[in-house]
């Protein structure tokens, strides 16, 4: 098979770059539609990446991906208990999870892999790509954005979830179990973030580093706003961010590098995010009760 062309490689790069952001954003859209904000996505991505590698090295890449998913689910459950059931603040537990991950990942790198900065994932643990280039996780992510859209907007359960985020009192009145719906949404959402992390370490990058998430959890949060809490629109937004992410890597490898310094290129994804979120005010409509703990009389 002939080597793929440069532009095809670029497109695949975009696909890879957008996958973790897309997965995380889809999950967070579900959670926020139910009214819960999860700031800890960054930490969940990191921890999913870590447990993914641990499991994959023991039992293969698919188990690794599953481990990432379950790690996300467990952390999501913790967040759900604190926010939905105990009516705690939505933002502080997330900061705690992020901090915890920032410590646990390098810690385990040393303790488990005896490596100071990064660990190369052995090839037997890596997720096999279709035709060697396209990741099944990427395809799953794209499919999920359609599926999640369908669930949220075309099924009765999606209606229930959205009612909880828009008007929990109304939902309560018709017998909907507000806390339970929120917990399910958060757990599913966090699982996708954990999967995103595992994808990054086991598939796309093939390594586990201390800084593996590099702000993607927060970019996903911005993407949720930017896509107006619509999983299909998130597809477009994720592609946009993936484009800039890949562009910055690409530019660094070409002659442009002499003209534009790589460190400034690195700011590109973040600047774009900032502009996108700032420009979108007034044209997006968050779920009315997002981020507000639901307290009964």
């Amino acid at each position: 098979m002939a080597a793929p062309s440069g532009s095809l490689l670029f497109a695949i790069g975009v696909l890879n770059a957008m996958t973790p952001i897309l997965l995380t954003a889809i999950g967070e859209i579900l959670a926020e539609r139910a009214g819960v904000v999860n700031i800890g996505l960054e930490g969940i991505i990191m921890l999913g990446a870590m447990t993914g590698v641990m499991a994959a090295e023991a039992a293969g890449p698919w188990v690794g991906l599953l481990a990432g998913l379950l790690t996300g689910a467990a952390l999501g459950l913790l967040h759900a208990v604190i926010t939905a059931y105990l009516k705690g603040d939505h933002i502080i537990p997330g900061i705690g999870i992020n901090t915890l991950a920032l410590g646990l990942v390098p810690f385990m790198l040393i303790v488990h892999w005896h490596s100071a900065g990064q660990h190369q994932v052995p090839s037997y643990a890596r997720v096999p790509d279709i035709a060697g280039y396209i990741s099944p996780v990427s395809l799953t992510a794209i499919a999920l954005s359609v599926i999640m859209w369908y669930i949220l907007f075309r099924t009765p359960w999606g209606l229930v979830v959205r009612s909880v985020g828009e008007n929990p009192e109304a939902a309560d009145t018709v017998g909907i179990h507000v806390e339970r719906v929120q917990a399910i949404a958060v757990v599913i959402g966090a699982s996708l973030a954990g999967l995103a992390g595992a994808f990054m370490s086991l598939d796309w990058l093939g390594t586990l580093t201390k800084e593996i998430a590099a702000g993607r959890g927060f970019i996903a949060l911005a993407l949720v706003v930017f896509s107006n809490w619509d999983p299909l629109q998130a597809l477009g937004g994720a592609a946009l961010f993936g484009f800039f992410d890949t562009l910055s890597i690409w530019v660094k490898n070409t002659t442009l590098k002499q003209v534009v310094p790589s460190s400034l290129i690195n700011t590109l994804p973040y600047v774009v995010t900032l502009i996108a979120v700032a420009g979108v005010l007034g044209r997006v409509r968050p779920p009315k009760h997002v981020g507000v703990p639901y307290k009964r009389e």
Binding site: L104, A214, F218, L221, A222, S263, T267, T273, L274, G279
Partner: protein, 378 residues
């Protein structure tokens, strides 16, 4: 009473953090007793160790103030990280200038470095403030993005303009005449701790003894009441961001001006990393009160400095402390509900009291029921 409760919550959270940390240590093959002993003994009881703890605490107190002031105004300003980088950048720029302008190799240079650092940091904070007030951008997202942007801008400056010709991995060190005085000879502790504690006290004064601080606190606690009282909550938001930026700027500049052995910004900003985020932990443990932040900052300084001793003597990786920090923050997110449980029980008690009161009233309950049809009530 409230303060005592809150202090207790922080202690509980600390204990939980250490306890779970101990479990992790055990399963990772370390001895928790040995690890914690080395951590606390060296960081607290040893003169040089404690000096190091204070040196670590200095920037954390300031970044803790950044977050705490934000919370008091009703925000979540987690941009101390980036603002701190810009603070350091300011000092590094002045250091660079000092080699061309010898007049800066003096306390004048120190002041100039702090000033520039504070200005740059505040500008960064102002971006987040304006985005929030004008475009409604939630500060959690904007400040994180700005953190990363600031990181790369400072790296850019370090690599291309401010590098030390003798050692390209860092910026030009601050000339000796502009450095902050060392408080304990042969230690890392410089006057940065004085700047930090001083600014924290100043913030305390600002928040509780000035009109600006009063309005800031009121806007954070009740925007409706603030408007009723003729205040403009947006003004308080911007002020909170600026004060936070100044604090983080002082922290960053201080690390360059007052931290041996480098007196510079190192490659990958490694000597500055995570000081902003640690400030969040400090603020939370310190109940978002400047005095609490001072103590919490010292506590975290002890943990961080102790971590290196723990690494040297017990072989435990440094990042263990961050794990403990994370658990403490998660634990702090929960105990607030202990408060709620207490409130609920209080309400129940009052209810029963009132029921007994009403039941004891002389005329009891009128069985004001149905009238036979046709009767009129007078």
């Amino acid at each position: 009473m409230e303060a005592l409760l809150r202090f207790g919550e922080s202690i509980v959270a600390l204990i939980i953090g250490l306890a779970i940390g101990a479990v992790i240590l055990y399963y990772a093959g370390y001895s928790p007793w040995e690890a914690y002993y080395q951590l606390f003994y060296n960081a607290v009881l040893d003169k040089y160790g404690f000096a190091r703890s204070l040196a670590e605490a200095a920037p954390l107190i300031l970044t803790g103030i950044t977050f705490a002031v934000g919370v008091r105004a009703g925000l979540f300003n987690i941009g101390a990280e980036g603002q701190l980088y810009f603070g350091a950048l300011g000092a590094a720029i002045v250091a660079w200038l000092a080699y061309r302008m010898p007049v800066l190799n003096s306390p004048l240079g120190t002041i100039a470095a702090y000033a520039l650092g504070v200005i740059l940091a505040s500008l960064l904070a102002l971006i987040a403030a304006v985005l929030k007030v004008w475009r409604g951008v939630h500060e959690v997202v904007s400040t994180i993005m700005l953190n990363w942007i600031a990181f790369w801008i400072v790296e850019f400056m370090r690599i291309h303009y401010l590098f030390d010709p003798h050692d390209a991995t860092k910026t030009i060190p601050v000339p000796p005449g502009a450095r902050l005085p060392i408080l304990l000879p042969d230690s890392e502790l410089s006057a940065t701790i004085i700047v930090s504690v001083g600014f924290a006290l100043l913030t305390y004064y600002l928040l509780w003894y000035t009109v600006t601080g009063y309005e800031l606190r009121a806007s954070g606690l009740s925007p409706k009441a603030a408007r009723y009282a003729g205040m403009d909550p947006n003004k308080s938001i911007i002020i909170a961001f600026i004060v936070g930026g100044v604090a983080a700027g002082l922290a960053g500049a201080g690390e360059v001006l007052g931290r041996p052995p480098h007196y510079a910004i190192t490659s990958g900003l490694s000597n500055l990393l995570n000081m902003g985020f640690d400030g969040i932990t400090v603020a939370l443990i310190g109940a978002n009160h400047p005095i609490g932040v001072i103590f919490a900052g010292i506590l975290l300084g002890v943990l961080k400095s102790g971590a290196s001793y723990m690494q040297i003597f017990a072989g435990v990786p440094l990042e263990m402390v961050r794990i403990i920090e994370g658990i403490i923050v998660i634990a702090l997110a929960v105990p607030g509900t202990l408060h709620m449980v207490r409130e609920y029980l209080q309400r129940r008690k009052k209810l029963t009291q009132l029921r007994e009161q009403e039941a004891g009233k002389s005329h009891g309950f009128e069985g004001s029921g149905l009238q036979p049809s046709g009767a009129q009530q007078q």
